[in-house]
């Protein structure tokens, strides 16, 4: 479908533009909102791959829960001070070079590999609820269950840090 090809480019453009704006924006609030926009664009990519469940869950979890808490924090801390972090010129220079090399390597690496092209991504069935559920509860049952321990640890940690005792 030619239509979804254009959609892909539009969504990719939005995602990359918004991701760049996250870094460039001076106000933290704008950065957070651009990040939300990035998540929406990526959710759109999931839909193009016919992974509707993943797309919706992506929106619910990232845009609906995590980013709302993020905005919440930014609002409460009132991080609207237009200050630059003091960075030495050397540090900026070094990080630019290091990041540039990483980018360069990754681009080269991706170019060297001929990526397989899916015949028609919209016929992809893996992202539908039924298939995903089966994979999750058969093949990946153990990581799925163990992530509950991970979340429990995170929750216990959050509660512990929130208490007012010294230890």
């Amino acid at each position: 479908m030619i239509f979804s090809k254009y959609l892909f480019f539009i969504l990719s453009f939005i995602a990359i533009y918004a991701a760049l704006k996250v870094l460039i924006s001076k106000k933290p609030m704008h950065s957070v909102l651009y990040l939300t926009l990035t998540f929406f664009a990526i959710g759109g990519h999931y839909i193009l791959l016919n992974a509707q469940f993943l797309a919706v869950v992506h929106i619910i979890v990232y845009a609906g829960a995590i980013m709302v808490l993020f905005i919440y924090t930014v609002m409460l801390l009132n991080l609207n001070i237009q200050g630059e972090f003091p960075k030495s010129r050397l540090a900026k220079f070094a990080s630019a070079i290091a990041g540039g090399i990483l980018l360069f390597t990754l681009i080269a690496v991706f170019r060297s590999y001929d990526l397989k092209v899916l015949a028609d991504p919209s016929l992809n069935q893996i992202g539908l609820v039924k298939n995903l559920g089966k994979i999750l509860f058969q093949d990946y049952y153990l990581p799925f269950e163990l992530s509950s321990i991970l979340f429990l640890a995170a929750m216990v940690g959050a509660v512990m840090l929130g208490k007012k005792d010294i230890y």
Partner: protein, 459 residues
């Protein structure tokens, strides 16, 4: 697998009793639980059970390293009541987080799938981030938690990106399947796979604090509460090196010859930078952080030359490191409690008034430095022999020079406690229990030095 289930139940029970304010029950409960876990863990020995679709592999290697992790838990809880002496609260959350971290570590020692590896790593790391900041009104502890969290999640990002690339090319998260894929390439592995693998290595190097990804470790280890530092240096290193070893020996074994250059450079840098930086430290905790970096370098050496015995030697090295470090930290905790400082002068005249503590500290430091006939010496000796046999003589030379440098800083507290001049400081009161504990650990270090083959031949 049984160990994970037992530990999860233990952690939840512990929190339950903690909420009921039954402070007296907690530590005995945890000890009994950990011992049961240890028995359950060892009960799978030699069976090599594969759980859940090759997700979790309980082979001898993973059981041995899981046992070391559980042992770390037992030792840490042994000294927990000393560190948290005046605290009224049951502290169930801190204990639970330590148990969760051990679960994460066990998963990291036994994964057969990159997804499970990531879950285990995150369980370990998140527990560590919080534990590092568990002394909430101490600004150094806050700094430690913040730095650890920011840099750690950045490293996790690299690791995850690496896993994604490896998966994207090979089409599987399973370690064996990845190896099959590499073999199927006939030496023509795509660069994208190599890039992914290197990104995974960057993440792992961060977790074991190898140079140049070690910058977080001094601040984090200095700022964290001392008991937690002892736990993080030992458990974090053991779990990460076990995971690293599994990754290299199962998934990337066919590419090992091409990896050795990278690993050697990292190992050499780690040994040199770690030891040299430790020389300049007066704060013992900070010195331990840097010496921990150096020890990671030695651990990495075991990954460079893979022989039939390298797993056993790695296990022995890790075991001796764990026992010595925890003993040293136990004494350090006691001294900090009384003298209020981690600096060398606090040790002045320790031998006169507290001979047991001074002796244990001396044994621990000598073991870490590698003085014969202690456990640390035998560990280093076997490791160096293995490396030399693999043809890396110059690496051994670097490592020996590093060890010689390390003698200088490891002996500082020993010299202060035995040979310092001037007024000896007052006696430190410590319980009989504590004395017995550290004595047993010291004897263990001496015994292990005489019987290294018992451990090495296990694997």
């Amino acid at each position: 697998m049984k160990a994970i289930i037992a530990l999860s139940i233990l952690a939840v029970l512990n929190m339950f009793f903690g909420v009921r304010k039954m402070k007296k029950v907690l530590l005995p409960l945890i000890f009994i639980g950990l011992i049961i876990t240890m028995i359950l863990n060892i009960s799978d020995w030699g069976k090599s059970v594969h759980y859940f679709n090759e997700m979790f592999i309980a082979d001898n290697f993973s059981i041995a390293f899981s046992s070391v992790l559980i042992l770390i838990g037992i030792l840490i809880f042994m000294f927990a009541n000393i560190y948290y002496k005046g605290v009224e609260r049951p502290l169930e959350d801190i204990y639970a987080l330590i148990l969760f971290a051990i679960i994460g570590g066990i998963v990291m020692a036994s994964f057969g799938n990159l997804i499970l590896f990531f879950v285990g790593l995150e369980t370990l790391s998140i527990s560590f981030y919080v534990l590092a900041g568990s002394k909430k009104f101490d600004i150094a502890s806050n700094e430690a938690a913040m730095k650890y969290f920011l840099t750690g999640s950045f490293a996790t990002g690299f690791l995850l990106f690496g896993i994604a690339l490896v998966y994207g090319v090979s089409g599987s998260f399973n370690l064996e399947a990845i190896n099959t894929y590499i073999l199927g390439c006939n030496g023509n592995v795509p660069m994208i796979f190599i890039a992914g693998m290197l990104l995974i290595f960057i993440g792992m190097s961060f977790k074991i604090a190898a140079v140049p990804f070690h910058f977080w470790s001094p601040d984090v280890y200095t700022g964290s509460p001392t008991l937690i530092t002892a736990f993080m240096t030992t458990a974090g290193k053991v779990a990460s090196i076990a995971a690293f070893y599994r990754l290299i020996t199962i998934a990337f074994i066919s590419l090992h010859s091409e990896l050795t250059t990278t690993l050697t450079v990292i190992a050499v840098l780690t040994i040199i930078v770690g030891n040299l930086s430790a020389v300049y430290q007066d704060n013992l905790k900070r010195m331990f952080a840097y010496s921990g970096v150096a020890q990671s370098g030695y651990l990495l050496m075991a990954l460079i030359v893979l022989g039939p015995k390298s797993a056993g030697i790695l296990l022995f090295f890790v075991l001796s490191y764990v026992i010595a470090t925890i003993t040293a930290f136990a004494v350090l905790m006691l001294i900090r409690e009384e003298r209020g400082t981690f600096f060398i002068p606090a040790f002045r005249g320790l031998a006169k008034n507290n001979p047991v503590e001074a002796f244990a500290m001396a044994i621990a430091m000598m073991s870490l430095a590698g003085i014969p006939p202690l456990a640390g010496f035998m560990a280093k000796y076997n490791l160096f022999v293995l490396t030399a046999e693999g043809g890396y003589t110059w690496l051994v030379v670097v490592a020996v020079i590093g060890s010689m440098i390390s003698i200088y800083f490891y002996f500082k507290p020993i010299l202060a406690s035995y040979f310092s001049e001037g007024e000896p400081q007052h006696k430190i009161e410590s319980s009989v229990n504590f004395k017995i504990n550290i004595l047993v650990l010291s004897i263990l270090m001496i015994l292990l030095g005489f019987l290294p083959q018992v451990i090495i031949n296990l694997l």
